[in-house]
Symmetry: C2
Subunit: 474 residues, 2 copies
């Protein structure tokens, strides 16, 4: 939902794929005519068929890898290592869901003990889902990303609003899905791909009665706008928005020097990889006053050695620079920054150093800065952090580094209230696709703390249950 | 959320229990001071302790049965048979949840295959829940009803806004909970009981930041007002509102005469029991034209024999009479009504007869009439019902009577889209507390089709998940 991508530098402007841009507005009428039949048809596949459909989709995606790679690299400014990792993850996610739905208990049957009645609880697709592609994951959280895969696995049709920053990649991936639907002789309306550089398609489909839920990854502002739109419908629908997060990292006291240095190195990498454009990038690091100096010096040294990388888009770069300057200006904050000569949209990392008292008065530092930036804040006692927890909103992650066997009990209890994932002795970046994963958290990290956006359980966002109660005929 | 209960007829006005009415407005400040500690304390019980707490609560509830019965009967106008059934059901529900939480997988652990990291998905209480007592179930959907039991079982504190029509019953039940908290030396703020005859407490607590979800049973208007309030909060929260439903009943063609008569008898009882004051009361019956006469004559005869019963409250009675008249006035509707001389708030059943064409033009007949009333509508062919499905909103239930081994395939597919529970050859009233139960449905039957308000799975409304990701210490 970013505007202005027409000002892309030529390097990122890859309109060599066949794009109809923006999508013809008459598409809506066509979609309305066909979506109910498409939803009925797709929901009518057996679970085994749906699993095979996903496997075929994975194969088509894999076949298009070389072509997708070419466009992805030119369009996103991300590295080829990152492409490999993101492609592999996306491909694997499709296969994980194909296996997962074969294990799910789609129907649980029970007989009433006292009456001769059979009750079956059936899990069914919720209906058609609107998914908005993200800016920062052209594959894993976009056209055939976690939301789309989970929705298709649940038996839901999808309307995908492509992110304009990688419309070319999106179109190629959409072609893989269209191809699979054709092979299966399924309606092309099972998956619809719309493109624009405004809010038109997103807000239009968000209000269509056939759309029963929305999946979104992006800013709090964008997510909240969708939530408000969805709540105001004649029939309100759930929005699963994965939004902003500071991802606080707490370094407990009493780390020996070598451990502190190791933590600093890990965090430098976590802050800077792919220009810090991750929703799980650590944005606030809390370290005990006496250990702060060693930690900071290793962190800055390490950052200085990491190679410069471009950001996703000039707009993102400009916003990053502005937000970074805003945080630096807070009273009691000192600035450390990349000293290299960098041109264009290459990311200039920044670290703001401060102490707890000043952090409390700096609201601009308590919101995500999207990019390679973090606030390093010193504290005297772990107990002082309690007040911080009270003003931090919901978080996707909270990391605790500790040398003890168990972290501080109060700290852990507070973390469980505000974070969707708690990491002991590790960095928050790198969200694994596992059954035990939870990627979400209390608002504003996500719109609903009860659901994960990553892992097989994310299918629960897009299913509903009904009860079949069968009496003997009269 | 009904006004004017101060005009109760003396028979229903049972202010012989110690009521602070309305609840002292300073209570809010006190609650704000204590709720976080209460939530932490209650969530800190082990699962075994929480199960024992529920068992003790069930015992205290049972001990208070005679006292509760006295107030319930005077306050509600419901029969002693109904009290017995509702009391037993409520008591059993507490025990079912005590057993259920011992079986739930509160923690699922997984190791990453390629890295030395342990991931555990933990299920935790969502936080404090606001529950609004219903008008029609003084026990089963009120103070210690399904929502409260599920919330406590999940480890959530509860704020209960008593329904003013049975504030006496509510206060007695609240005393059972307070007594159990005292026995366990738990904070009295684990369960707070507030009383008023306005929207003050409901709208106030709905906007408190410590409240993380709302449970409601009542009208679409009331439920939607809460949904809008919850969606507009700085931190939006989910509302689980179980609202209105027509509960259509489709009698497939080709029933022999005796079967038709049996169905009519069952439906008469289902329409009229407890003055039809059930969210699952059948409100629309569809019968094939040639079978309509036999069906209707048995239905009316049966209704004429059922004993008159009072409604819950003068306001409900007045609204019922007004809505009934409204539906009768539709073009092409004929009226059948109770011919007895009835006084006060005794329910005068009504049946409106019509045909499909006229039903389509009668929007007032396509909304719930709360009370002993149903529209009996004749149709020519099952296929004609497709158009009706397109204009019916979400339904709690949809019943199909058929002599075939399987109901019509299109009918079943359409039913799965709009109803939370599909009943073959049975009436919709009588919601069993079972794992396979689903009590809910697409909007406006409920606010979220994905969740049930009845049965052990209803606990899922009030839990969230987090991931604990544990690396080895450095």
């Amino acid at each position: 939902m970013k505007k202005g991508f027409r000002t892309f530098q030529p390097r990122f402007n890859t309109w060599d794929t066949q794009l109809h841009f923006p999508t013809n507005p008459h598409f809506l009428n066509e979609w309305r005519l066909h979506i109910d039949d498409a939803q009925t048809q797709f929901a009518g596949l057996s679970i085994a068929q749906r699993a095979q459909f996903l496997n075929d989709l994975a194969a088509n995606f894999l076949n298009a890898k070389a072509e997708i790679s070419k466009v992805y690299l030119r369009e996103s400014g991300l590295s080829s290592e990152r492409f490999e990792a993101e492609f592999e993850r996306t491909h694997r996610t499709i296969l994980i869901f194909a296996q997962h739905i074969l294990k799910v208990d789609w129907q649980k049957t029970e007989r009433s003990e006292t009456e001769n009645i059979q009750f079956s609880k059936q899990t069914l697709p919720l209906g058609t889902i609107l998914v908005l592609g993200s800016s920062n994951f052209p594959l894993a959280y976009s056209t055939l990303g976690g939301d789309t895969i989970a929705a298709l696995a649940a038996g839901c049709c999808v309307v995908l609003k492509a992110h304009p920053m990688h419309a070319g990649t999106s179109s190629l991936v959409a072609q893989c899905i269209a191809q699979t639907l054709q092979q299966w002789a399924l309606s092309p309306f099972v998956f619809s791909h719309v493109l624009d550089d405004s809010y038109y398609w997103a807000s239009t489909f968000a209000q269509e009665s056939a759309v029963k839920a929305i999946g979104f990854t992006g800013s709090v502002k964008g997510g909240r706008a969708l939530m408000d739109l969805a709540a105001a419908r004649p029939e309100p629908i759930p929005v699963f928005a994965e939004m902003g997060s500071l991802n606080p990292v707490i370094i407990s006291p009493n780390h020996h020097q070598e451990a502190l240095a190791q933590i600093a190195k890990k965090l430098a990498y976590s802050i800077y990889t792919d220009a810090g454009q991750f929703c799980t990038k650590p944005g606030l690091i809390l370290v005990q006053t006496e250990e702060a100096n060693i930690f900071e010096s290793v962190l800055l040294e390490e950052l200085a050695h990491l190679p410069a990388t471009p950001m996703l888009h000039p707009d993102i770069h400009a916003k990053f620079e502005a937000r970074k300057r805003q945080v630096f200006q807070n009273k009691g904050f000192t600035r450390a920054e990349n000293q290299e000569q960098l041109e264009g949209i290459f990311a200039r990392w920044g670290i703001a150093k401060t102490q707890l008292q000043d952090l409390f008065n700096a609201s601009s530092a308590l919101e995500e800065v999207f990019g390679p930036f973090a606030v390093v804040c010193s504290y005297e006692n772990i107990a002082d952090l309690t007040k911080l927890f009270n003003i931090l909103g919901g978080q996707l992650t909270l990391s605790i580094f500790t040398q003890e066997a168990q972290p501080n009990v109060q700290l852990l209890a507070a973390a469980q209230k505000i974070a969707g994932r708690i990491i002991l002795n590790g960095v928050p970046t790198g969200v694994r696709v596992l059954e035990a994963m939870h990627h979400g958290g209390p608002y504003p990290a996500s719109s609903d703390a009860r659901f994960t956006a990553v892992g097989p359980d994310s299918i629960k966002r897009f299913t509903k249950e009904i009860c079949m109660q069968v009496h003997d005929a009269l």
